[in-house]
Amino acid sequence: MATKRTTEKKVALTGGFAVGEALRQINPDVMAVYPITPQTPIVEAFAKKVADGLADTEIIKVESEHSAMSACIGASASGARVMTASSSQGIMYMMEVIPVAAAMHLPIVMVVANRAISGTINIHNDHSDAMAMRDFGWVQIFSESVQEAYDDVFLSLKLAEKVSLPVAPNLDGFFITHTVENMTLLSDETVKKFVGEYQPKNYLFNFSEPVTFGPLTLPDSYMDIREELYQTMKKVPETFREITREFAEISGREYDFVEKYKLEGAEKVIVAMGSIAGTIKEAIDNLEKKGIKVGLLKIKMFRPFPYKEVAEALREAKDVVVMDKNLSMGAKQVLEGDVFQAVGDKKKIRSVVYGLGGRDVFVKEIEELIGG
């Protein structure tokens, strides 16, 4: 294993640049992109690599996000390997076609640089955009760090093509996209071997077996087709586990549906996802020194939601704080609700909404939240 990693490179990169580098290493056939902060560093980094001849992806500079996802759908249905990236209003603008990509079983990877949703405009981070697209058959995974954001691009692509579903790896806008961290790059050769070549099953360029995508489905068929998509989502976890195992072999980095940090025996547990996990880990370490035992359950795979793993991980917990980085109006919060569904009413669940529109959360605040 160690010998395989001799070509790895330790570098300090922003999340945006690291994801751009992952895209270069994958060299997808087509990308269709429209600029939006904080997704732009990803696309800029990649466009420069294409301009310098380091990748030969065809980039369609579309006139809107609606067209970005639409062009991705056309290209992916044709049989091409297709990727894109967006954020916030971009996700909302393409929302009409987001379910179409899933319904057609197209393995499009869309990197989402999470950002707040407008009402009053805000370009900073929260998870409202990801929450808006959660019910349509897209696999959604969240990263904590630049390293994880980089690794997630490869995991997402391989997963998408294996399960024939679109996948959105999420990285927090600014907190990850624009922040420099030490990380390790895989070698081009390792990446190439890991992602392999895409072999589409049904595709438009198969002229000898013409297919019709996106038919009109009436009440006699629509519900069955939705059910079929639901069942396909159920196959995701098993495949994800195979892929993460393979990835651990080439990278030494292990990923699972959830990450448990000092969770063993902890009665106080925080459940969260995204970059806040780093802050929480520091708070947990500080509290530990004071003799207060707290654990973190980090959700990596958000959709499909790992109910079983969450229930198991929280088995010994008594005080569970679920941190949502979005505000669901007129209802319980999304992650709070998901955790409740996993554990039932056997636990005391407290809901905390934090960091909307990029508001900072400090280590001390986390300590106060659960250390008392």
Binding site: D29, I60, V62, S67, I73, G74, A77, G79, A80, P215
Partner: protein, 312 residues
């Protein structure tokens, strides 16, 4: 007309209303293609009448995504071909054509942005609009293509309403402003001219566009047998001029032998029936005729045929 039926149809009959010409639009376009073709369709009459699951009328690769994105979908498909050809993932010699079909709603209105983007980026495709002057699939509402005076569900005629109060937009000119490789108006009642234009567009590299006049029985309200006659009358009254644009130059394709008032076209359809019962009928038709004359005059000027005196 000398039309030979092709026995190797690339698209089977659709479940359209009686008298609907959109199956003919699809057939005329696809039967002009030699070799492989990929088709995308915007949501609309052609799409819902050709893809009722588990059946499909399309014997060629076909994709429908949503209403607003035919231009973007065909951009993705065409780009995928170039990308995969470059990497040796497809048989370059197959050299497929890429065709988008959309109605007037999906082109003049909700799909205009996607069409504009695709034209500006210079993709190699043919975009065909079957223009039936309204939203028919949803039950006959006005669109940007609906002419002044039309009684539609969203512009109902009444004591205080002549129906649609404003003129239609000129999509051909909007498209030409993008400087496409080729653009033309066509008419389902002038089938040979339409077919020639399709062949021309398919043989031209870059973005090409054809706007086909396609009467609709339920909205326009006429006898099913009259589709072609009414379509032809549209051009004979200069309501639907036939012209094309190529390399910066316009060409007029048909000049009516005599000037027929546009009222004659309006008379044939129930959607305009209310106009004829109004007290201010003469004033209304004077205005409609004025708009018609202005538009015709503009087409003549563009085509370098600015000789009004020759109109008898």
């Amino acid at each position: 007309m000398d039309i030979k039926l092709n026995t190797q149809e690339k698209v089977s009959p659709m479940t359209t209303c009686a008298g609907c010409p959109i199956g003919l639009v699809a057939r005329t376009v696809l039967n002009s293609v030699e070799g492989p073709v990929v088709v995308t369709g915007a949501t609309g009459c052609m799409e819902v009448t050709s893809t009722i699951y588990p059946n499909t009328s399309w014997k060629v690769p076909y994709i429908h995504s949503v209403f607003a994105n035919a231009g973007a979908t065909i951009s993705g498909i065409e780009t995928a071909w170039r990308a995969m050809a470059k990497k040796g993932k497809v048989q370059v010699e197959e050299n497929p054509r890429f065709i988008a079909f959309a109605g007037d709603g999906g082109s003049y209105d909700i799909g205009l942005q996607a069409l504009s983007g695709a034209l500006e980026r210079g993709h190699d495709f043919l975009y065909v609009v079957y223009d039936n002057e309204g939203y028919m699939n949803t039950g006959h509402q006005r669109s940007g293509a609906t002419p002044i005076g039309s009684n539609t569900e969203t512009t109902p005629a009444g004591k205080e309403s002549i129906g649609k109060a404003v003129r239609r937009k000129d999509l051909m000119q909007i498209v030409v402003a993008h400087r496409p490789a080729y653009a033309a108006t066509a008419n389902i009642g002038f089938l040979s001219d339409f077919e020639r234009k399709v062949k021309k567009a398919l043989a031209t590299k870059g973005p090409t566009f054809i706007l086909v006049f396609s009467p609709c029985v339920p909205l326009w309200k006429y006898q099913e047998s009259q589709t072609i006659n009414i379509a032809r009358l549209g051009t004979e009254t200069n309501f639907w001029p036939l012209y094309e644009y190529e390399e910066g130059k316009y060409k007029l394709n048909y000049r009516p032998k005599k000037k027929i008032p546009v009222e004659e076209f309006y008379k044939t359809q129930g959607r305009f029936k209310h106009l004829f019962k109004r007290e201010d009928k003469e004033e209304i038709f004077a205005n409609i005729q004025k708009i018609n004359d202005q538009e015709w005059q503009r087409v003549l000027e563009l085509c370098g045929e600015n000789i009004v005196g020759k109109d008898k």
